[in-house]
Amino acid sequence: MIEIEGLNKSYWRAGAELAVIHDVDLKVDGGEFVAIMGPSGSGKSTLLNIIGCLDVADRGHYLLSGEVVDHAIPHRLARLRARYIGFIFQSFNLIPTRTALENVALPLLYQGIAGSARQQRALSALEHVGMADRASHLPNQLSGGQQQRVAIARALVNRPSLLIADEPTGALDSRNSAQVMSLFKSLHAEGHTLLMVTHDPVIGEAADRIVRLRDGEILS
């Protein structure tokens, strides 16, 4: 699913080059649930963004589902995201003026899928996360946990091969966190590939495998 070799990424801050990712190799197989952990500033979000095709590496190779990503241009990155990846963010990132159903259906719009099919697929994605009864609610009418479940439905609606979650429970209380994690587990059980960044060891426990990062390098 993911094959990364010799990945490097650095930023320029105040005239100095700051290596964020340094010679990272990583392999994730289809159906795996991997947690990336590390202290803040360890480069885990940057790594996740590169894997999620939101960002590109400076050097190194990245193969996603057999497609060479490496230094793809923005247009190709967008296509790759649309095709392979479902994102789940810490702060849910639902569009506040749209209902749960509309939010979930939105990724399909950019694929040119017809309106009725969008509705159906969005509704079944909401069912999948147990939020079908809230389809016509606006995000601010939902609790944090519910919003995150809607966001997960949105990530699923494209039938992506890879789900990427950046601190998915970071904005949730422990009860809602547990709910979201159990959803992740059941998605994993269904065969989805999950890649999750977290700094919470309890959350990390849910994963099959934990990749630890420090100062842009993989420890284990």
Partner: protein, 414 residues
Amino acid sequence: MNQLYVSIELIKEALRALRENRLRSLLSLVGIAIGIAAVMTVSAVSSGGKVFVMKELETFGLRSVWVIRDYNDKDPNRRVRMGSGLMQQDLALLSGDCCPAVRNISPIILPEKRLIIQWGNRYSNASIKGVNAAFLAINNDRMKQGRGFREQEIDARRPVVLIGETVSKDLFPQVENPIGRHLRIGGRKYRVIGILEYKSRDLLASIGSEGGEDANNRILMPYTLVQQMNGNREISYLQAEAVSLQLAERAATQLKQVLQRRHRGAYQYSQVTLASYLKTVERILGGITAMGVVAASTSLLVGGIGVAGIMSTAVVERIREIGVRMAIGATRRQILFQFLAEAVLISVIGGFAGLMIGLILGGLLDLVTGFPLIPTSSGILVGLLVSVLVGLASGYFPAQRAAGFLPVEALRRE
């Protein structure tokens, strides 16, 4: 096909965004609406103005030319001469095939004395003109009732008259049909054979080019009778009709040349053509249009800047949403298209509102002032086209900016 479908969906997204920011959208399209309304009004005023002026000028006959002695000739080498320099014999010469650019010609003879016009105990202060049978055709005059002169009535000095509407109202307020009645002019009886159709010269009268003469307060009679009253065979001036508008100046020149040759330069003549007035009118209307276009363009420019400003804020406000849309698979092109569509929609809706405002305003102005504002289809088309262009121009940079964000950075913003 898929591309087209996505485009339509993105336009719907843009429409939704406009609805979600109703007030902002409304405010930003006001500028465009005013601009387009201005464009509309300008085009309607200029086309309406042209129709309006043409209609009045037509009452003189557009191909009319006048030839009159130039009394201002101050050549000290020439003997001072009395008279109009136009005689009965000249007319016969000019009516022949001397002047190929001339179609019809009529002498116009004004009475030298003031004549009392009455019917019973009712009086009229109409102006009297002696003309021939061709006069009506030259002037585009039509009969409301009765008929025009016949050649033999002119030649035989029949005491018959044509009267304008005002004369008819002044003298025959109660009479259903004044045709056949005899009115008295300077003590002589004249039979009314026709009533001239109403002529509007309100605009020309208001700008003074009509010399204060009411086109409807006039009496036409055979010129031969006026000559008889005046006791000479002079002609006050000539009015002729050129074969075409383009040949009007040439027609007048031909007439003048014949007259000068005949009188061996004893008189100088001046010419007036309606064609030259038309050019002036067109120049004035062109000037008004140009000024209007400048004003309209300015308001459109301001409107466009307004849209650009509002779109820029919208992009900044929605930067996170842009990031989300990118993360879930929107390409840069799709983001660009969506924001561009938003700007164009604002502009086109504004343009449409402007068209409506322009039409309503034009209608109201027409009602209140009676000045016809004629919206042209080209004006409407140009208005809509311009609003699309303004939308594209003002939306381009904000949309470009929206599409240019890196998704990671857009998502980081709060």
